[in-house]
């Protein structure tokens, strides 16, 4: 009887470890897919729009002046290119892979719906899933904020990313269920604390989570 229970428990533990690894793989795979879409948008769509725009310019310069049709077409093309850029930025910020979480957050803060104050000294590069989770967390908090600002402090703590996200207003800091799932999968700790004018979230990521294949 006891050996049977011990056997069942060992089986459960094994299954549990498998599920944890598989959850991490699913998240990593999802991120990679989104990144592939961004690359397609960038290399495929945006670059082509730019090329067509240049061809249009060449045509325009070869025609007698006063032809407005081509100019109008050029303007529409420029608007299309701007939409493609916005879309690609929204799908996946390329800057995250290329320059890391600090640069990506700075870029986000420039066009966020409310002030996002950043104070993140000494950041390093972290595993892609960590950077993506941290980025999504800040974007999620900002978009769900009911107050007047969001502040993000923290930085590197012996190779691990630490974020203190604060927001004023009634809603305080909202960490959505998908973000909680991500944090959990990454073995990150999340603590919610009362702050002077709202609620703050203290997030500490674990050391490099290994995404193990099967």
């Amino acid at each position: 009887m006891e050996t049977r229970i011990a056997g069942r428990l060992a089986g459960c533990a094994e299954r549990c470890a498998e599920l944890e690894a598989s959850r991490l793989r699913l998240i990593a795979e999802h991120d990679a897919e989104v990144e592939r879409i961004e690359r397609e948008l960038h290399d495929g769509l945006q670059q082509r729009l730019t090329t067509v725009g240049m061809e249009l310019q060449l045509l325009e310069s070869a025609r007698p002046s006063g032809d407005n049709a081509l100019a109008t077409l050029g303007e529409e093309l420029a608007a299309l290119a701007a939409t493609a850029r916005r879309l690609s930025r929204r799908v996946f910020p390329a800057i995250l892979t290329e320059a890391g979480i600090g640069a990506a957050l700075r870029s986000y803060a420039r066009q966020a719906p409310l002030p996002v104050e950043l104070n993140l000294p000494g950041l390093r590069r972290y595993p892609a899933v960590v950077e993506m989770t941290a980025y999504r967390l800040v974007v999620g908090v900002t978009e769900g904020a009911s107050g007047t600002y969001v502040s993000v402090r923290g930085g590197d703590k012996t190779g691990r990313l630490r974020l203190i996200v604060e927001a004023d207003g009634d809603a305080g800091v909202l960490i959505s269920p998908p973000i909680r799932d991500r944090l959990d999968a990454l073995n990150a700790t999340l603590r919610l604390e009362k702050a002077a004018d709202g609620v703050r979230a203290v997030v500490e990521f674990a050391a490099a989570p290994a995404v193990t294949g099967r």
Partner: protein, 226 residues
């Protein structure tokens, strides 16, 4: 002006080459990767290079590395960097290398007049920072916004300073005298707690850094959350 063009996207590169040739520029070389760009530039000694930031082999910041290497080797060569996304760090890294540099969004090339104007300014040793990046920086939401205290004219001047224009350039753009520009610039910089610099590129650097993180400026703002 003799130009080398480096971009790994063949269609885009060819498009650029014909656009430049059509405009009367002499394209003396083109390249599709970082190492290729370096060797083309060394072999042809152009007046100006146009570099894509993301190129093989690593598709990350080859263009920027090529720019810094060329800067050290041939400081007289003007450098125009094209990027699919805009990042203040890249701009400041480039601007720190001195005069005759430009940092533009790739899509800007279809705004031909603006693009050729940028090439011209960089060719003459000037600085060009993409107006879209500057616009974003100026419009970024801030908790206590020191820019709110500026008049509309002052904001216009600040924008042009951040885009890399000299006082003469700003005066011409806004149809005001150089003396008036100087007065505006001095008042803006002192309001933001930035010191006036004789060198244009230092001025641009200070303004860009300030715009990105005003709380790190010298205005005495609270540190975030503090």
């Amino acid at each position: 002006m003799r130009i080398v063009v480096a971009d790994d996207d063949v269609l885009l590169r060819e498009g650029l080459v014909s656009m430049l040739t059509n405009r009367g520029f002499e394209v003396v070389g083109s390249a599709g990767s970082g190492p290729e760009a370096i060797s083309r530039i060394r072999a042809t000694k152009p007046d100006l290079v146009i570099l894509d930031i993301r190129m093989p082999p690593t598709h990350s910041r080859e263009g920027l590395d090529v720019a810094l290497a060329i800067r050290a080797e041939m400081p007289q060569v003007g450098i125009v960097m094209l990027s699919a996304y805009i990042e203040v760090d890249h701009a400041t890294e480039l601007l720190r290398s001195g005069r005759g540099v430009g940092y533009l969004l790739k899509s800007t090339v279809t705004e031909v007049d603006q693009f050729f104007d940028a090439l011209d300014r960089v060719g003459r040793g000037g600085l060009v920072v993409d107006p879209e990046l500057v616009g974003e920086l100026i419009a970024a939401p801030r908790r206590s916004n020191p820019l709110d205290g500026l008049t509309r004219r002052e904001t216009e001047v600040l924008e042009l300073v951040a885009e890399g224009r000299s006082n003469v350039g700003i005066a011409r753009e806004l149809f005001i005298s150089e003396g008036t520009v100087e007065k505006h610039v001095q008042s803006i910089l002192s309001r933001l707690g930035l010191s006036e610099s004789a060198q244009d590129h230092r001025r641009v650097l200070a303004v860009l850094r300030y715009l990105e993180a005003p709380q790190n400026g010298k205005v005495g703002h609270k540190t975030p959350g503090g």
